[in-house]
């Protein structure tokens, strides 16, 4: 049985899509308990209630922020209470990186994936032993990567530092995609840079000036991100404010994720 945690904005902005999703889930025979995530909603109590009533699949309906909120709460409770669950996402916006990781690009594909109910254990990243992320943690510029016995820093100002579980750079190269595997029990620390594009090339529309290309890749199980700033804004599925230094580690096979049949590498 499924529990659907539906973000508040979906009711106000995506009502039609939500009705369509409801129809699809009913037709597939997988309509379950629906929980509206209002601003003051006690998510922990809802998850506890669902697990107590035998629900094993927790589905976040919304965007990556919704998924991150539900997943983090469920994992923190799982640590204390020791239950098992599988997790899924129904993306209600076009840009869901967690959805892409699972091969679910729309709510219709999500309905198909949920009815097929194929799940697979996926690694997660953990920030400062508290915040889980499924895709990547993106750090502000001027940070350095601190390994056990060496440090890595970029020589240029315009760079992009991330610790990835999946390919957030959307590289078409198969070789590159091989490096970002959410089942390999390691994360990839990446320093990406923006290639210099001349003014004339930009006028001709050759190359995008805002796309970062991964240049340096370090497979890691645990890493410390250092910065001169005390508080850092980290984008880890959703925006998080953390204090430096930030410890990032991999949690191997942390959660069973429901995925579309032609996905998850």
């Amino acid at each position: 049985m499924y529990a659907y945690f539906i973000d508040d904005w979906v009711y106000s902005k995506q009502q039609r899509k939500l009705d369509h999703l409801d129809l699809l889930l009913t037709q597939a025979g997988i309509s379950g308990r629906k929980i509206r995530l209002a601003r003051l909603h006690d998510l922990g109590a809802s998850i506890r209630d669902c697990i107590a009533s035998g629900i094993k699949s927790l589905i976040a309906v919304g965007d990556d922020t919704t998924a991150s909120r539900v997943l983090n709460q469920a994992l923190l409770q799982q640590k204390e209470e020791g239950f098992s669950f599988s997790f899924g996402i129904v993306p209600m916006r076009d840009t869901s990186i967690i959805g892409l990781l699972l091969g679910i690009s729309s709510f219709k594909k999500a309905a198909d994936a949920l009815s097929a109910n194929q799940s697979k254990p996926v690694d997660l990243g953990l920030l400062n032993k508290r915040h889980y992320f499924a895709t990547a943690a993106v750090f502000p510029k001027k940070c350095a990567l601190g390994f056990r016995s060496y440090t890595v820093s970029s020589m240029y100002n315009d760079h992009h530092i991330s610790v990835c579980n999946s390919d957030i750079y959307n590289q078409d190269l198969n070789e590159s995609a091989k490096k970002f595997n959410p089942h390999d029990q390691v994360l990839e620390a990446v320093i990406a840079h923006r290639p210099n594009i001349s003014f004339f090339d930009r006028l001709r529309g050759r190359g995008s000036n805002d796309q970062y290309i991964p240049e340096s890749i370090f497979p890691v199980k645990k890493i410390i991100i250092k910065s001169k700033q005390k508080n850092l804004t980290v984008m880890a599925d959703t925006e998080k404010q953390l204090s430096s230094p930030i410890e990032v580690e991999v949690v191997p096979n942390a959660v069973d994720m429901i995925f579309a049949s032609k996905s998850v590498n």
Binding site: F147, S149, Y150, T151, S153, L173, K179, H193, S216
Partner: protein
């Protein structure tokens, strides 16, 4: 010191070739690594490394890379600059733009024309211990 074409060498001795996508660790051109770097897999260096460098896999140092470190690897292909001792278990290839200032210890060595090597070179088919220091020389006992 033998100088021969690397292609011929690969055909003759089964030399290794590491493509860009195969490396597990990539140290890009805009990146500086400081400290004792160690890895289990293949490493590609295009940027700057200082300290020491050890890998159980293969190492490729591209042109433009600058390494100030002692290096240990299973196989290595060098086209950049290295200031330090290099020790490989099997193959060591020096490309035409390679510049090494330091001693090298390896089993199979190939050097392309144009490569620069300033230092001692030890090529032995016996197992490389990883230490690049020369063995102690016994002094002859003084005859009384």
């Amino acid at each position: 010191m033998a100088v021969f074409n690397s292609k011929d060498k690969e055909e003759n001795s089964g030399g290794f070739e590491m493509k860009e996508g195969e490396a597990e660790t990539v140290i890009g051109a805009s990146v500086k690594v400081e400290g004792d770097f160690s890895s289990e897999g293949d490493v590609l260096v295009q940027g700057i490394v200082s300290g020491s460098m050890k890998t159980k896999g293969n190492l490729r140092v591209d042109g433009g890379a600058k390494i100030k470190a002692d290096i240990e690897a299973a196989n290595a292909s060098v086209r950049g600059e290295i200031e330090g001792n290099v020790s490989t278990k099997d193959n060591l290839e020096l490309g035409n733009s390679a510049k090494i200032t330091g001693d090298i210890v390896t089993k199979i060595l190939s050097i392309e024309p144009g490569a620069v090597l300033n230092g001692h070179c030890s090529v032995s088919t016996e197992g490389v211990t990883g230490e690049s220091e020369p063995a102690d020389v016994q002094k002859p006992s003084k005859e009384e």
